[in-house]
Symmetry: C2
Subunit: 411 residues, 2 copies
């Protein structure tokens, strides 16, 4: 008799976005003509840049010709893309990587979701709260999260580390034993970053305790300030303890194109039952070669164009466009007296709801009084209660119109 | 302290292709000018068809325009592709499916590798021998295979069902309890098929024993004979017990483009610890929405072009090209007195090695005397010993040249 993976039954419904959709639909049915502006979802809206578009066309043409057609490519990605990633994203910042340390994939969500497979089933997982839900859910599915406690609204097997205005969104080191630590900087949902000094504390902690840090850096391209680390490998010794995830999704508008990469340094080890060190690079390589078949050649040609001189200028314009939105939102909300976080090195603005409103109360207020949809902070975890996320990914026009509407609210 | 998933240590080295590469390299270094023809790897060589190419270009153009740009798509795939899949691949054969029963993905290898996640860790897995290695390895990684026995060359936790010339490559039903059954038809590596009557035995067995059949049908497009089932759902009751995997890789030359789909019928159930039936469709949907982010929009537009009238004609020509190769190889080898299987409804020819040679002895003979690289059958499992796989995916010219060389061998 076929039995299911019972851990799936511990998953909580994807309450957040279902509830948002429900409230939005209800409002629309009661207000049929309403012109709703969404600053909720973390998805780009600007088209692909010309350098990428012309390379994608060239890739398609190569695949149409017998002489240049390519079938299965390397599961790890083509050298031409890996070499340019290393050159521009790492060597340019003084970090050296070998080609076999970079694994091209079809998305950071996939890699971040799959990476836990190479670790033991009894690993203790630490996440920040608020948190990107995939870190938690992928471990629930694998049986590492224990039971969900409806009172605490937390899994009893996960270690949650709070970040909020009171600690300046700087997480404290764990006070109990953990094995795997998910860090996301620039952060989704808060839009905040960690300084190199703060990041060093985590690297040192991981080295002292033989932990592995899973460092999600999908929003790296949005870093504007000089002193914010772009890679965890800027911290000495990080290659011994950290896997880094990067994506073309937000960097180059690839959310609908699908390309990302993951760095697993050769120095990085974890331990078998007998305490022998095993290279995680070998395990991830085995995982990817067994259960993955590489990214579309056409897509990889398009991704490589991001690094040409023309490509980099266009990407910078793209990021500038969204970051101008972010500044408008930040400044606009701050001028109304709201407490605003993020939005300086990330496309997310994390605001404290006014007058002690709950996240959902503020959601309803924005929806009904300004016809704006955002994301209630509590949807990302208990410590998100009383916060609200707006994104800078809308069009300039919609961002402006949304701010004008918020300006007219009584907050 | 971070510990590894110890099950990975039970994986055997990917001995087969490493050993092939090693012997080939050695031969090349000793015979620098040798003109080697590869009929080994199961990868296509013909370019994408014009209908697909023009749709891919159109998809790229849509992504370059603000008005038609698409960001994140549905993790399950776009309706336009799912609807056309259902219409042409199923409804045309009298099988009705709902849109939420089809999940578009970036490859059958991914889906076949990931599907085991939704089943309990103590599931007993049955595979045919010889077998496509991903079925076994993905279960080894999940801890379902037990230990590898170097003497039997098998995992002690896997149920192996032999297929060979003596049983006409028709597998017998399991004689011990199993929960999950991997079937692959048209078969890789043997190129053989099952009749509807034989397939019905498996469906009935699965219904009687509440098993789930994982039906890999990646080579469906190569079926030429009238009475060979194209889908397991042609068998009554199969929707209650079977998941079906299909791919554009071999159908339309998409090995380097990456698109496939998996059908998980709503009727299909497995059981929780208390014996309650749970819809596997819900679990797979949750798996994909949590750990996958959909296939490139551009790729999905290209895949949909496969089903246009023009597209279908071009795909038929593509399949005919390879199947003409297959017939040439079959007939050529048979005329030399070799026992030949497959190659009628599949692009693989599975031959019995002459004069009792082992798979590797025949490999060496073909390599050194005819400069042809194929795949030793024993690499797919113990019952592959004494067999050898050739593929029809080469160019016409190379296939012809290879046959001329084999013709001159003393066999």
């Amino acid at each position: 008799m076929a039995k299911i993976n019972g851990n799936y039954l511990e998953l909580q419904g994807s309450y957040l976005f279902a509830e948002i959709a429900k409230r939005r639909t209800k409002f629309m049915s009661e207000n049929p003509g309403a012109d709703i502006i969404s600053l909720g979802i973390g998805d780009v809206t600007r088209p692909l840049t010309p350098a990428v578009v012309s390379s994608l066309h060239a890739g398609v043409d190569e695949m149409s010709n017998e002489k240049t057609f390519r079938g299965y490519g390397p599961e790890q990605g083509y050298d031409f893309l890996i070499e340019t990633i290393i050159e521009h994203d790492y060597k340019a910042r003084g970090i050296s990587l070998e080609k076999n340390e970079v694994f091209v994939s079809d998305g950071s969500k996939c890699d971040v979701g799959n990476i836990q497979e190479i670790f033991s089933q009894d690993s203790i997982v630490a996440v920040m709260d608020p948190v990107y839900p995939v870190y938690v859910d992928s471990n629930v599915m694998a049986g590492r999260a224990g039971h969900f406690n409806p009172e605490t609204k937390r899994y009893d097997g996960i270690v949650y580390i709070p970040t909020h205005a009171e600690n300046q969104f700087i997480p404290s080191l764990p006070t109990q034993k953990v094995d795997l630590i998910y860090l996301c900087y620039p952060n989704n949902p808060t839009g905040m970053t960690l300084s190199k000094e703060e990041l060093k504390k985590w690297v040192d902690y991981a080295r002292d305790n033989k932990c592995v840090i899973l460092y999600d850096s999908a929003y790296e391209a949005y870093i504007q300030e000089e002193d914010v680390p772009h890679s965890i490998y800027e911290v000495e010794g990080a290659k011994e303890v950290a896997i880094e995830f990067r994506s073309f999704s937000k960097t180059a508008g690839f959310t609908g194109v699908r390309c990302a990469y993951t760095v697993v340094p050769r120095e990085l080890k974890a331990y078998d039952e007998s305490g022998n060190a095993v290279a995680l690079n070998d395990l991830w390589n085995r995982r990817q070669t067994t259960k993955f078949n590489g990214v579309s050649y056409i897509t990889q040609v398009g991704a490589a164009a991001v690094y040409t001189e023309e490509g980099r200028q266009q990407i910078k314009q793209l990021v500038d466009y969204y970051m101008t939105n972010a500044k408008m939102i930040r400044d606009g909300l701050a001028s109304l007296g709201l407490e605003v976080f993020g939005g300086v090195n990330a496309p997310y603005i994390w605001l404290k709801t006014p007058n002690g409103l709950s996240s959902w109360e503020f959601f309803d207020k924005l929806l009904t009084e300004a016809n704006i949809v955002g994301t209630p902070g509590v949807g990302f975890g208990r410590n998100g209660e009383g916060y609200f996320r707006l994104t800078a990914f809308g069009s300039r026009e919609n961002t402006q119109r949304a701010l004008e509407r918020i300006n007219k609210l009584s907050l």
